[in-house]
């Protein structure tokens, strides 16, 4: 036992990034599924109820918080030109700032006023933070705020921008950071070595504005994981190490809500929703079903406990059978929504733009159990870990949790 303890001690000293708790390492969580575990979460909150802490932020942002161990990482942008880039690390315990680093945008920072430069959710491999901005600046820091490397993807690709703003969030697949930089002028996907920041591959993508984020399709073993790249053309599954296309679905797809994955099934916002079944080791996606009346709005659908959920542009929550697309029930929520749903402990959480977090109990029918107004604009998707919900506005970061 003593030897075991010393080993742990040594391991901790060698690797400060050892993950000892549930993480939420990228947009919609580690597996891009937006599903947390069954740890009880607060089902209602207000300014003075179930707010573990609330801290001010140093800039705007609609990027989501991510969680690695006992630390929360948030990106912001500030300045008249939104050209100041912030990466801030908070303690999950009390919201205190552990460190903050700032950089200058090397790419164009203009966007629609609703959005801003800090629009993409950062990602982590558990040892490093990868912060991408609309200006296509890509910062890699270790968990203690030390710069590892810095890329200016708009320096590399001068026309890789969208005057309305970019927002695709990168994901880590194995030891590769996969990012989509897609727009009308110069569209690319890049696979970047997480350790060196060097490109493993760069591939041309359809020249059309695209705000979707890549997702991961888990293989039988980690080396077989694939990155899913959605665009107006459809969905390409690529080897994250090489960028080689393993299979392609070319029936078109949305450029706003992203695909979600459940096991070997991919639910693509394409002609409504199209469910693709991918047999293990197969390069031929089979269309399981297509629901042309299932039209997700801005948020990405979610597959949770044998059901498929999404919110349409009218703010109606749909529950569909993931096996055939049959609608099981609908429930009108209070919109409008920019964020995606997250699921935890048999509930869905939906934050609308007005700051109202709506908790829906799942069952034969959906039931709104609470509407919780925090009074600020929320465009980001919350992160959920260890029974706590983390949500940010342009001004604040909240931790919502049951009293300890």
């Amino acid at each position: 036992m003593r030897g075991f303890s010393y080993s742990l001690c040594l391991l901790a000293a060698l690797s400060p990034a050892v993950v000892i708790a549930a993480d939420w390492r990228q947009f919609r969580g580690n597996d891009s599924t937006a599903v947390a575990d069954d740890t009880p979460i607060p089902l209602e909150w207000s300014a003075d109820k179930n707010v573990a802490w609330k801290v001010p932020l140093t800039g705007r942002g609609l990027s989501c918080p991510i969680i690695v161990g006992d630390r929360i990482f948030v990106t912001c942008s500030s300045g008249y030109r939104q050209d100041r880039l912030h990466v801030v690390c908070f303690s999950a315990k009390d919201g205190s700032t552990v460190w903050e680093r700032q950089f200058w945008a090397t790419g164009r920072t203009g966007s629609h006023p609703k959005t801003c430069n800090a629009s993409s959710t950062p990602a982590s491999d558990g040892k490093r933070i990868f912060a991408l901005y609309s200006s296509n600046d890509l910062v890699c820091l270790d968990l203690d705020g030390n710069l590892e490397w810095y890329r200016g993807l708009m320096v590399d690709f001068p026309n890789a921008s969208n005057s309305l703003g970019m927002s695709s969030s990168p994901i880590v697949v194995g030891d590769t950071l996969v990012t989509q930089i897609e727009n009308d002028s110069q569209s690319l996907a890049v696979g970047i070595d997480v350790a060196t920041g060097e490109s493993r591959w760069t591939s041309e993508r359809p020249k059309r504005a695209n705000w979707t984020s890549p997702a991961v399709l888990r293989g039988a073993k980690p080396a077989e994981d694939l990155a899913l790249l959605q665009s107006s053309a459809g969905l390409a599954a690529v080897n994250p190490r090489t960028g080689a296309v393993v299979f392609n679905y070319d029936n078109g797809a949305s450029t706003i809500p992203s695909s979600t994955v459940n096991g070997r099934t991919i639910y693509v916002p394409s002609r409504g929703i199209t469910a693709l079944q991918i047999a293990e080791g197969s390069a031929n996606p089979e269309i399981l079903w297509r629901g042309e009346r299932l039209n997700p709005g801005t948020g990405t659908p979610i597959a949770y406990k044998d059901m498929l959920y999404f919110v349409n542009n009218a703010g109606v929550l749909f529950c569909a059978d993931p096996k055939n697309g049959e609608t099981k029930w609908q429930l009108r929520l209070e919109g409008p929504f920019s964020s995606s749903l997250v699921a935890a402990a048999d509930h869905l959480i939906a934050f609308n733009e007005k700051g109202v977090g709506q908790v829906v109990k799942l069952g034969e029918k959906g039931e709104i159990v609470s509407k919780n107004d925090l009074g600020e604009t929320f465009l980001c998707t919350p992160a959920v870990a260890n029974g706590a919900i983390y949500i940010r506005s342009d001004e604040h970061l909240w931790k919502l949790a049951l009293p300890q």
Partner: protein, 392 residues
């Protein structure tokens, strides 16, 4: 064994907090390695090692790190900034941040403008009084953020003078603020009270918009194919020539915009053609050879040539348009410079996709106008240059 492991842990823990530069390369050498980073990850391996080592430097290395910004690309400057902040953060926590060294760097205007601003922001963490001491002197600084802070103070002061009924003093204060203002929100906040006080302000000159153009079009851009077609104006600028255009013969015409923000509305100046291209050219007499930024706003696809050299090209349509949307760094030669702009309209039918326009200005990196020969800065500052149809 137990003792060895504990010792190893202790050493590793110690190593993580104690600066190591005493045994490594000097900061100058590390900075040079970092400055070699290039596009698409070039030079990353030595730069990663160098930034790691530089981040462990003692606080005394901070001015040297800041000094490295001047000869760094914007990309490399961010690498240096990462190292600077790590060193400065550690020094701050150990109460070793040297305020006098930071302030000396800030006030030396031969230093890199961004590095001076960075030094200033860390100076504030140990000496909050520095703002009152330094910012009033930053009104026409090379750094836009310094200017913004200085302008904000004057706007506040002018507003208070107005509230107190001291109109003459307020006008004087707002005029002074306008000298430094480069951000449009501040310019608007200054111009409104100035005009309310009966003062004349020429925004075209203040921002440095190019307002007098020669235009020719439409050329064909059906299916957006004209973007890559080199029509005659890309090969020659003969202002008495006529060329076959899209469905008609086209010739050069003169056009001067009276829009305060220099907007040239091609849909009105020519006609609301769809799937069409117009070329616009203007001369800019530069008093000296100089590096400037050409800043462009347009919802249309475009190409820009300066003295026959392609400066930038972009084929995006109707994703928004704003002042200073694009910043193109160029070098002007002394005397006559020729700007040629290709503005492409597509065939979208939506109401919001009918704009066919641009605004172009010449300015410094900080955003203050660079005026052509014949228009002086003092004219702009005092408002002696009038807009012919101001108020339209």
């Amino acid at each position: 064994m137990k003792r060895f492991v504990c010792a190893a842990v202790a050493v590793m823990g110690f190593a993580s907090i104690v600066p190591l530069s005493a045994v490594g390369a000097p900061p100058k050498e590390l900075i040079v390695r970092i400055q070699a980073v290039g596009t698409e990850g070039a030079g990353h391996a030595p730069a990663i090692a160098a930034v790691k080592e530089l981040s462990q430097a003692p606080a005394s290395a901070l001015p040297e790190i800041l000094g490295g910004f001047e000869t760094s690309s914007p990309l490399a400057a961010n690498w240096l900034r990462g190292a600077f902040e790590t060193v400065a953060d550690r020094a701050l926590k150990l109460k070793q941040l040297d305020a006098s060294a930071l302030e000396a760097f800030v006030v030396n205007r031969s230093n890199n403008a961004s590095a001076r601003r960075l030094a200033y922001e860390w100076l504030l963490k140990v000496d909050a009084t520095a703002a009152d001491r330094l910012i009033p002197g930053m009104l026409q600084d090379a750094n836009a953020e310094f200017r913004r802070d200085a302008v904000a103070r004057l706007v506040t002061a002018g507003t208070k003078q107005l509230d107190d009924g001291a109109k003459e003093e307020a006008a004087k204060t707002f005029k002074q603020a306008l000298l430094g203002a480069v951000d449009d929100d501040q310019v608007k906040a200054i111009v409104k009270p100035l005009r309310d006080l009966g003062e004349t302000v020429n925004l075209q000159k203040h921002f440095g918009f190019v307002t007098n153009w020669k235009l020719i079009g439409p050329f064909d851009n059906t299916d957006k194919q004209g973007f890559d077609v080199a029509y005659p104006p890309e090969k020659e600028l003969k202002f008495d020539a006529k060329y076959p255009g899209k469905g008609e013969e086209v010739a050069w015409t003169e056009f001067a915009t009276d829009d305060e923000y220099g907007t040239v509305n091609l849909a009105k100046a020519l006609a609301p053609h769809k799937g069409a291209i117009t070329y616009a050219t203007a001369e800019f007499q530069s008093p000296a050879a100089q590096s400037v930024e050409i800043r462009l706003g347009t919802p249309n696809a475009w190409k820009l040539w300066v003295n026959g050299e392609l400066a930038f090209a972009r084929d995006e349509y109707h994703r928004g348009s704003s002042l200073d949307q694009y910043k193109v760094p160029v070098k002007l030669q002394a005397g006559r410079n020729v700007l040629l702009l290709k503005v492409c309209q597509n065939e979208q039918t939506e109401e919001w996709a009918q704009d066919w326009k641009y605004q172009l200005r010449v300015c410094t990196k900080a955003g203050s106008a660079v005026l052509p020969t014949g228009v002086t800065t003092s004219q702009r500052e005092t408002g002696d240059v009038r807009v012919a149809k101001e108020g339209r």
